[in-house]
C-alpha cells in the first residue's frame, strides 16, 4: 500500500552537508505552497465557527448584532418541541442509516466479490443512485411513496384494495420513508468503498484460510473485516457527515411534514436563520449541532490518534 502513496521527503532539495536543518524550514517549498490553504482553513473554518458560537449568545435578528443575551437562545431552543423532534429524528435516522448502509453495503460488496458475471454492470446499477442529488432522490421517492399514484396505488389497482403504505403521510413513520430514500441513494457508494477494500486483501490470505479449512463467513468476519479497518473508518466518516447534514432529502420529500414530524436540525437552522429572520436562534441551533458532533468525534479521535503515540 505504502508504495502508492507519494511521499514528500525523498524530493527534498536540501543538501546533506548543511547539518541538521531547522525544523521550520524543512520542506520550505511545500510549506509556502500550503500557506494559503492553512489561512483559508483558519479564517473560514475556525474563524467562522468561533464567530457563529459568539453570535449565538446575541439576539441578532435578520442581521448580526452584538447585543448579548446570555443563554436565552439556548433556553428557547430546548423549549421548542420542533427542535426536540428534530433531534429525535436525527437519532433514529442516524443510527439506522449507519447500521443499514454498512451492513447492506458490505453484504453487496461481498456478493460482488464472488467473481460473478456482469460484475461491472451490477456495480454501475448499484452506484447509479449516488450520481443523483438528494433533491432528485427525494422527489423520486416522494412519487414512489405517494399513496395516490405510488406503490400503494399500484398494489391497490392490482386488487388489494385495503393495502396501505403511505409513510410520508403518517407522522409516526415518516422518518422511515426518508430513511428508505437515503439508503437507496447512499448504499451504492458504501458498496464501492467496501469492494475496493475487499480487493485490497491479499489473495494469499484467502488461500491460507482455505487451507486451514475456515468457512468463508468466518474468514470475512474475523480476518477480512479487521484488515479493512481503514476502509471502514473512511466509510464511517462519509456516512456520518451525510447524516449530520441531512437537509435536502427532507425538503424534497416532505418539507418537514406532516406537521413537524420529519424535521431535522439542519432544517431548523436554515428555517430560523432565513425564514424567521432570527440569526441568533439559528446560530444557537448550529452550535448545538457542532457540540453534538464534537462530543462524538473528540473521544474517538483521542482513542484513535492519541493511543498510537503512546504505543
Amino acid at each position: 500500500m505504502s508504495r502508492t502513496v507519494p511521499s514528500a521527503t525523498p524530493s527534498r532539495p536540501l543538501p546533506k552537508s548543511s547539518g541538521r536543518p531547522n525544523q521550520l524550514f524543512r520542506n520550505l517549498n511545500s510549506k509556502i505552497a500550503l500557506t494559503p490553504m492553512i489561512l483559508v482553513a483558519a479564517v473560514v473554518f475556525f474563524g467562522g465557527t468561533i464567530w457563529t458560537v459568539i453570535y449565538s449568545f446575541t439576539n441578532s435578528r435578520l442581521l448580526p448584532r452584538a447585543s448579548f443575551v446570555g443563554f436565552d437562545q439556548y433556553e428557547r431552543l430546548w423549549a421548542s418541541s420542533r427542535w426536540i423532534i428534530s433531534i429525535q429524528n436525527l437519532l433514529i435516522y442516524g443510527i439506522l442509516s449507519l447500521i443499514f448502509s454498512l451492513v447492506v453495503g458490505f453484504v453487496l460488496a461481498a456478493l460482488m466479490d464472488q467473481k460473478i458475471r456482469f460484475e461491472s454492470a451490477f456495480r454501475t446499477i448499484f452506484l447509479y443512485p449516488f450520481a443523483l442529488s438528494f433533491i432528485v432522490t427525494g422527489l423520486v421517492w416522494q412519487w414512489i411513496l405517494n399513496p395516490e399514484f405510488g406503490v400503494q396505488g399500484i398494489v391497490r389497482s392490482l386488487g388489494w384494495t385495503s393495502f396501505t403504505f403511505d409513510p410520508l403521510y403518517n407522522p409516526d413513520i415518516v422518518i422511515y420513508g426518508i430513511l428508505i430514500a437515503g439508503l437507496w441513494q447512499g448504499t451504492g457508494l458504501v458498496m464501492c468503498l467496501m469492494l475496493a477494500g475487499l480487493r485490497g486483501i491479499d489473495e494469499d490470505i484467502w488461500k491460507a484460510a482455505r487451507v486451514d479449512g475456515i468457512p468463508m463467513w468466518r474468514t470475512y468476519l474475523f480476518v477480512v473485516i479487521p484488515m479493512m479497518r481503514p476502509v471502514f473508518i473512511t466509510t464511517l466518516v462519509l456516512i456520518g457527515s451525510g447524516i449530520v447534514k441531512l437537509y435536502d432529502l427532507v425538503v424534497a420529500q416532505t418539507s418537514g411534514g406532516p406537521g413537524n414530524a420529519s424535521e431535522v436540525p439542519a432544517k431548523y437552522v436554515y428555517d430560523y436563520m432565513f425564514q424567521a429572520q432570527n440569526l441568533g436562534q439559528g446560530f444557537a441551533a448550529s452550535t448545538m449541532m457542532l457540540l453534538t458532533v464534537a462530543i462524538i468525534i473528540i473521544p474517538w479521535a483521542y482513542l484513535e490518534f492519541g493511543g498510537k503515540k503512546r504505543g
Binding site: L62, S255, G257, G259, A261, Q277, N278
Partner: protein
C-alpha cells in the same frame, strides 16, 4: 476591419446608457403561478413603455424560498433594482440598517398619503417618517371557497357560513368527499387559524391577540373557542394528502373537496379553470360570519443603488406601480384589490366585487404579517402545522403554547 467594427460596438454600448437616462432594472419577485405571471407582465409592459427596461428576476417557489435569496443578495452587496416583499415587517431590518431607499420624494409628488387606501398600507412602508416601499396590491386571507358540485353530490345545500360548513362535514365524508382541503405547507394552516380568529372571534379579539400581544387574552376562554374550531377544522381536513395550496384549491375546483380556506389569490385558479363564481363555486368572505378582511398584500422595495441612472429608473418604477391604469391592469390579472379606491374595476368578477365592497366600507384589519415579526410568525407556523398533523395534541395544549408564543412576541 474587424477591430473597427468591434470598437464601434463597444462605443455604442458605452454611449447608449448615457444618451437616454434609461436603465435596465432587475426586479425580483415570487409571482410565478399562471395568473401572477400574467399580472407581472402588465407591470413590466407599463415600465418598458417609460423607456426603461424591466429585467425579470422571478424566483420560483413560495415567498419563503424567495425571501432568503433576496435578502442575502441585498446584504451581500449585490442588490437588485427592486424587489417584492409582503406588506409588513419582512424588510424591517433592511430598512433600519439603511439598505433600502427612501421614497419620500416620490410619495410626496404622487400624493400617496391621500390616494392609498387603507392608510395601514402606507404605514407599514413608513419607518421614522420616511416611506420605503410602494404598495402594489391588497390581498386578504379570510375567504372560504366552496365547490357547489361537491355539496350537490353530498345532498346538502351550499353552506352560508363556517358553522353550516362544519355541520355539513359528515355528509361530505359519507359521499366519499374530502370536507376541507388543506395543503401540507405550514403557511396554509397558520393562515387558516388566523382566519378563524378574526372570523369567529371578531376583530376586537384579533387585535387584542395580534396587535396588543395580550398573553392573557390568548390564554383566555374566547381563544379557547377558536382552538375548538381549529380542532373541527383539523378533523375536516384529515385525509387531504396534498402539499401546495394550489393543489388543495384544485381539489375544490374538481369537486373532490367541499371547501378550502385560502386567500383571495385562490380565485385566480378558479378563473383559470374556467369556473364561474356563484354557479360552479361559492366564496364566503370572512367565512360568512364577520365581514372583515385583513389588508395584507405585496409591496415593492428599492435597495439603495450607486448607479444614478438606475436610481432614477427606480423612481419611475415606483410611480408606475401606483399609476391608476397599471393598478387596474395588474390587479385584474392577479385577482387582488387595487391599493387606491379611485379606480374603476367594472371588469371584476362577483367575488372580487364583494372584497372591494368590504374594503371600501372600511371594515378592515391589519394583516398578521404587518403585526408580528417573521420570527413569531414562524413559531406560530411550527405550532399550527404540528397541531393539524398530530391529532394527539389537544386544543388546550396547543392554546397554552400559543399563549406563550404571543407572550414573547414582538
Amino acid at each position: 476591419m474587424r477591430i473597427r467594427a468591434f470598437a464601434a460596438v463597444l462605443a455604442a454600448t458605452a454611449a447608449l446608457p448615457c444618451a437616454a437616462m434609461a436603465a435596465d432594472l432587475e426586479v425580483t419577485h415570487w409571482w410565478t403561478s399562471g395568473g401572477e405571471a400574467a399580472a407581472v407582465k402588465e407591470l413590466a409592459t407599463a415600465f418598458d413603455a417609460t423607456g426603461n427596461k424591466w429585467v425579470d428576476g422571478a424566483i420560483a417557489g413560495s415567498g419563503s424560498t424567495a425571501r432568503p435569496i433576496m435578502i442575502s443578495r441585498i446584504t451581500g452587496g449585490d442588490p437588485m433594482g427592486a424587489t417584492q416583499f409582503n406588506h409588513g415587517r419582512q424588510a424591517e431590518e433592511l430598512v433600519m440598517s439603511g439598505l433600502m431607499r427612501d421614497l419620500s420624494d416620490v410619495a410626496e409628488k404622487g400624493k400617496w398619503k391621500d390616494i392609498i387606501k387603507p392608510a395601514s398600507l402606507l404605514d407599514s412602508c413608513t419607518f421614522e417618517g420616511k416611506i420605503y416601499c410602494a404598495p402594489v396590491n391588497i390581498h386578504s386571507w379570510q375567504w372560504l371557497w366552496l365547490s357547489n358540485a361537491a355539496f350537490e353530490k353530498a345532498g346538502v345545500p351550499v353552506p352560508k357560513d363556517w358553522n353550516e360548513f362544519v355541520a355539513a362535514g359528515p355528509k361530505l365524508r359519507e359521499a366519499g368527499l374530502q370536507p376541507l382541503a388543506v395543503g401540507g405547507s405550514a403557511f396554509q394552516v397558520n393562515g387558516l387559524f388566523d382566519t378563524l380568529v378574526i372570523a369567529l372571534g371578531g376583530t376586537e379579539l384579533y387585535n387584542k391577540v395580534y396587535k396588543d400581544k395580550d398573553e392573557e387574552t390568548a390564554a383566555g376562554p374566547e381563544m379557547a373557542k377558536i382552538f375548538a374550531a381549529a380542532d373541527d377544522a383539523r378533523k375536516l381536513a384529515k385525509g387531504s394528502n396534498v402539499q401546495d395550496w394550489n393543489q388543495a384549491t384544485n381539489l375544490v375546483i374538481t369537486g373532490k373537496a367541499g371547501g378550502q380556506i385560502m386567500g383571495d389569490w385562490a380565485q385566480g385558479e378558479f378563473q383559470q379553470a374556467g369556473k364561474v363564481a356563484g354557479k360552479d363555486y361559492t366564496c364566503l368572505p370572512g367565512l360568512g360570519l364577520n365581514q372583515t378582511l385583513t389588508t395584507g398584500g405585496d409591496a415593492i422595495y428599492f435597495p439603495v443603488l450607486k448607479d444614478e441612472a438606475k436610481s432614477k429608473a427606480q423612481e419611475v418604477l415606483a410611480e408606475t406601480i401606483v399609476d391608476p391604469k397599471v393598478q387596474v391592469a395588474f390587479n385584474l390579472k392577479k385577482g387582488s384589490v387595487p391599493i387606491r379606491s379611485d379606480v374603476d374595476l367594472a371588469a371584476a368578477n362577483d367575488c372580487m366585487k364583494k372584497g372591494i365592497e368590504i374594503i371600501s366600507k372600511g371594515s378592515t384589519a391589519t394583516s398578521t404579517d404587518q403585526l408580528v415579526s417573521a420570527d413569531t410568525q414562524k413559531q406560530k407556523e411550527d405550532l399550527m402545522s404540528e397541531f393539524f398533523a398530530n391529532a394527539s395534541i389537544t386544543p388546550k395544549q396547543a392554546q397554552e403554547r400559543f399563549a406563550s408564543i404571543i407572550g414573547s412576541a414582538d
